[in-house]
Structures are given as structure tokens and as C-alpha cells.
């Protein structure tokens, strides 16, 4: 089966974020493959190992996103497509979905795997938008994916457990971090990734025009922060103090 995994380069979760003058999140700092996408790549690789086929990474981002893509290639993905175009800086979710859909259509995959949401944007909107634009059913929040011929079966996380959801391929699956523990790239994998293809395409190659962004940022303020209250060392009497606080909150 042919599997496309969408991947994104994001600021390193372990680094401190900073803002640009226009209030967009700075992309100039340490960047990594989105940790959620690593799980998506891992699941793609496991399905390929079980059922054969090809894993193609599709990404949108600046040219330096190739570093993050190489990470996925070194894990074992076969090749990659990077849509890069100066006009796409600051693209919103719908534009991102349109661009990815156009690039993915050229691949004609049986399965598209996305992370549930990106680490930096956290809108969680690209998977359903992408499914709609591709004309695919969406099997979302998957913590387990099974393939039986042209039938997909996923365990979809819900508030109190999970649902078993089935659909025929082609389909889009969004996966949670619970899906699979991402493998470490082996030295051999890292060497092999250097010669794997990263096809770079622009907006005009895809025939996509960038629309007006859905939202414009009017201002950014510090989030309301709670003030620190009382901090006590437990000297054996802390429990009494907690009980007092519970009582004054009228929960006991």
C-alpha cells in the first residue's frame, strides 16, 4: 500500500519560543520534526513493514524544513515531497490543507497519516480539512490502526474509552501519540537518508493560489496568570492546612 505521512518542522519543544515583530511565532530558532509526526512516521513504517508498499513524506515549509524531513527519511521513509514557496509564510490551516491536498493528490496514496495536531499551531484542523479536500473518509484520534486488504480499522480515542471505526481505503487517519513509540534512526538509516529524494515543488507547480487568511492577529497579550499563593513545607501539618483550604472552598 502507498502511504503518505504529513510532516512538519516545528520549533524545538525544549527550546524557548519567541515572537517575530508581526506576532507570528519565530521559525528561526532550533527546529525539529514535530514529535507528533514522528509517531505518524513510525505508524506508516510499521504498516509498510507488515503490508509492503511505500512511505512518502509530504511537508509544507521553508527550505530548511528539509532537516526535519531528513529525520523522517532516516527513520526509514522512502522519499519526500516538500512544498516550499515564500507566499506560504504564515499560511492558515485551510491554505495548508489545500497545499498538502494538491501535493498528495499527485501521489494517489491508499492511506494518508497525519498527527492529530501540530505541536506549535495546535489547531487540529488540517486533518479534517485535508480529508474533505481529498474526498477521503477520516478515521481520527487513532491509537491503533489495522489494515485488512482495502479495509482499515482503527481504535479511535474518546473521552471514556475508544470506538472501533472502519472504512475502505483510500482514507485519512489521524494518530495520537499513543499509536507507536517512534524508533531511533540507525546510523545506517541516517546515511541512507542522505541519498533519498526530497522533491521540492512550489505553489505554481501545484496550481494552488493562496487565499486570504481566515484570521488576522490584532494583538498579543500575556495570558492571565494566576498569582502564587501560599507555599508551605510539609512539616507534618500540611494536611491540616489542606483540609482548611478544602473546607473554605466548601468541598468538604
Amino acid at each position: 500500500m502507498k502511504i503518505v505521512v504529513t510532516v512538519k518542522q516545528v520549533p524545538d519543544p525544549n527550546s524557548t519560543l519567541s515572537l517575530e515583530a508581526d506576532n507570528s511565532i519565530s521559525r528561526e530558532k532550533e527546529v525539529v520534526l514535530d514529535p507528533g509526526d514522528e509517531c505518524g512516521v513510525e505508524e506508516g513504517l510499521q504498516l509498510k513493514e507488515a503490508h509492503g508498499g511505500e512511505v512518502v513524506l509530504v511537508s509544507m515549509g521553508p527550505e530548511r524544513a528539509k532537516d526535519a524531513i531528513r529525520k523522517g527519511l532516516s527513520m526509514g521513509a522512502d522519499r519526500a515531497v516538500l512544498v516550499t514557496d515564500p507566499a506560504l509564510a504564515g499560511a492558515d490551516a485551510l491554505t495548508t490543507a489545500k497545499v498538502l491536498a494538491a501535493a498528495i493528490k499527485q501521489e494517489q496514496p491508499d492511506l494518508v497519516i497525519c498527527a492529530t495536531e501540530s505541536y506549535d499551531g495546535s489547531t487540529g484542523m488540517v486533518p479534517p480539512m485535508l480529508a474533505e479536500l481529498l474526498g477521503f473518509p477520516q478515521l481520527t484520534f487513532a491509537k491503533k490502526v489495522e489494515v485488512d486488504g482495502s479495509t482499515l480499522k482503527v481504535h479511535r480515542q474518546t473521552a471514556d474509552g475508544y470506538q472501533i471505526v472502519e472504512a475502505a481505503t483510500p482514507a485519512l487517519v489521524s494518530v495520537t501519540a499513543a499509536i507507536a513509540e517512534p524508533r531511533y534512526a540507525s546510523l545506517k538509516g541516517i546515511m541512507a537518508a542522505r541519498s533519498k529524494e526530497i522533491k521540492q515543488v512550489g505553489l505554481s507547480d501545484l496550481g494552488v493560489e493562496k487565499g486570504e487568511p481566515a484570521e488576522s492577529i490584532e494583538g498579543v497579550t500575556d495570558a492571565e496568570s494566576r498569582k502564587a499563593g501560599e507555599v508551605i513545607e510539609d512539616d507534618g501539618r500540611a494536611v491540616d492546612r489542606i483540609v482548611q483550604v478544602l473546607a473554605s472552598a466548601k468541598v468538604i
Binding site: 485551510l94 489547531t123 484542523m125 479534517p128 490584532e218 507555599v231 489542606i242 478544602l246
Partner: protein
């Protein structure tokens, strides 16, 4: 006056609390109507009306319960063409966001996701969105027509306005082509005595609990307080407890009367899901943990000793 459509999510035939929160906010912004799809939709109209919906469009086709997103997208796209609302509100919940994403793509408009508030401004709408990992809040103007905004659960407190909704049958023929992602079974894992989202006391555990074997200590305390147990993403990712217990950006949002964070450092990913709790108590061995800087009461000490002692003290007080 602006017209606002609220997507009322049904879960097990009942209206979700988030839907009522949305109505409570929406009725201050314009004329509000709601759409409810699937089993229980007609009965839901009563409570939706009480919370401010003037009209509720209903359709009880089983396809809305059994297939992910696509049948509901068909219904909403049809309703949009009829009614042309200025604003469509969804809860930022797993089920609603999938419908919202598909609908936006179908209508060819963008949306604003993960908002903590929405307000009218200059004849349009503006949403407040946690930004920058939650450290900041961005004010975002919705440029599209219709504006589509997804609001985080527990962003507002639901309250009744005492109205009655007119119920209208929404004509939708769900095409076979939309019956694709089929929910064939539902498995309940969490035997929640008290629902995490609704609990007046939430006790959440993090890495400082030492391991899954110590979570029963939290269950005992929750039992004594009539509360529910939550968890940080770190311990859910580590497989200690199920995802259904996760509180935070990618988990549940809660705003209980008292939130007790046990062995949780207080990463932004977690605090964005609990910082509107009325009272926060933190128990942590690290006095410098970020959670200590936002807790009303921070206790520096060994959680594995303090929690059982607290459970005993709560029981003693209740019985005394």
C-alpha cells in the same frame, strides 16, 4: 443583528455541557439558533432553548451517530445555504472539530480554532486564542464569511436564560457516499464514577506519583472528596493511565471548585487545561516547580505520604 448558529453536540443522545456553554456566550452576541443531529436531537431542543437557542434544527437520522463527520458536514452545509449565519460556533472537542474542519474546507472558508472566547467587534467577530504554548493570548479577527470559531470546553459557565426553542425538522438526505468512516463499536474503558469534566474536585497525578501503582492513592482521595482523578500528559504518554484521564491542551479542560495537582510540574501544556479552576492546590517535592507559582496553596513534600494522610483526614472530618 448578527445571526449565530451553534453546533449542539450530542453524546449518547444528550447535549454536551460545552454546547450549553457556547449558547450561553452566543446569546450575548446576536440571534442564536442551534442544530442538533442524531438520536436525542428533538428532546435536546428543550434544554437548548433554555440556554438561549430561539430555533433548533433537528434531524435524528442514525447516520449522524454511526459515521464520523461526513453526514453532519452535509447537514451543516445545507443549513448554511438556507440560513446564511454570520457566525458558526463549535466546541473544540474531538467530534465537533472534525465536522468544523470538513465544513470549513467545503465552504472554502478558514476558521479560528482552540479559542477561549469570542466577542462581537466592528460588525464582525474577534476570538481570543491561547498562543505561544499558552503563555500568551492572541486576539484574532475572523476574516471569513461565515466566521467559524471553535471554542475550548469550559471557557464559560453555562447558565439558563429561560427561553423556549422552536423546533424545526432539518431536511437532510444523507448520501451513501457520506457513510464511510463507520463507528462499528464503542468500548468504555474508564469506569468514571464522577465525570472528570463535571467533577467539583479534580485530583490529578503526574510523574511525581512514581508509577501507575500509586494512582490508587489518588482514587482513594477522590472517593473521599466525591471527585475525579486526572493526569498529566507525561504519565498518559508513559502508559500509566488511559488518555481519557488526560488534562491539558491535548486532553480535557476542567474548571472544578478545587484542583489538586499531585507530582505535576505544571508545564503549559497541562495548565492550559486547568488554570481556570477556582482553587488550585499543588503537592510537589520541588518548591521551584512552575505549578507552585500558580497554586493558591503549594505544599512542598512527599506526595506518597501526604495524599494518604489527607484522605484519612478528609474521611475523619466528614465522619466527625
Amino acid at each position: 443583528m448578527a445571526s449565530i448558529l451553534v453546533y449542539a453536540e450530542l453524546s449518547g443522545g444528550k447535549v454536551t455541557g460545552t454546547s450549553l456553554e457556547l449558547l450561553t456566550r452566543a446569546r450575548d452576541l446576536g440571534d442564536v439558533y442551534a442544530v442538533a443531529l442524531g438520536s436525542g436531537a428533538k428532546a435536546a431542543a428543550t434544554i437548548l432553548g433554555k440556554h438561549g437557542a430561539k430555533v433548533v434544527h433537528v434531524n435524528e437520522d442514525a447516520a449522524f451517530d454511526d459515521y464520523i463527520a461526513e453526514p453532519a458536514t452535509d447537514a451543516l452545509a445545507g443549513l448554511y445555504e438556507q440560513q446564511k449565519p454570520d457566525l458558526i460556533l463549535f466546541g473544540f472537542t474531538p467530534d465537533s472539530r472534525e465536522v468544523a474542519g470538513r465544513l470549513a474546507a467545503r465552504l472554502g472558508v478558514g476558521l479560528i480554532s482552540n479559542a477561549s472566547d469570542v466577542a462581537a467587534k466592528d460588525g464582525g467577530f474577534i476570538a481570543r486564542v491561547p498562543y505561544f504554548g499558552g503563555a500568551k493570548v492572541a486576539s484574532m479577527k475572523a476574516n471569513a464569511t461565515p466566521a467559524i470559531v471553535l471554542v475550548r470546553p469550559k471557557s464559560f459557565e453555562a447558565s439558563e436564560s429561560g427561553g423556549t426553542a422552536e423546533v424545526k425538522d432539518l431536511a437532510v438526505t444523507v448520501q451513501d457516499g457520506s457513510k464511510r468512516a463507520h463507528i462499528v463499536d464503542r468500548v468504555v474503558e474508564a469506569s468514571e464514577k464522577v465525570k472528570l469534566e463535571d467533577a467539583r474536585v479534580v485530583i490529578s497525578g503526574g510523574r511525581g506519583m512514581g508509577g501507575p501503582q500509586n494512582f490508587p492513592l489518588l482514587e482513594d482521595l477522590a472517593g473521599a472528596l466525591g471527585g475525579a482523578v486526572g493526569a498529566s500528559r507525561a504519565v498518559v504518554d508513559a502508559g500509566w493511565v488511559p488518555y481519557s484521564m488526560q488534562v491539558g491542551q491535548t486532553g480535557k479542560s476542567v474548571r472544578p471548585g478545587v484542583y489538586i495537582a499531585v507530582g505535576i510540574s505544571g508545564a503549559m501544556q497541562h495548565t492550559v487545561g486547568m488554570k481556570t479552576s477556582k482553587v488550585i492546590i499543588a503537592i510537589n517535592k520541588d518548591a521551584e516547580a512552575p505549578i507552585m507559582k500558580m497554586a493558591d496553596l503549594g505544599v512542598v513534600g512527599d506526595a506518597l505520604k501526604i495524599v494518604p494522610a489527607l484522605t484519612a483526614a478528609v474521611k475523619a472530618k466528614k465522619n466527625g
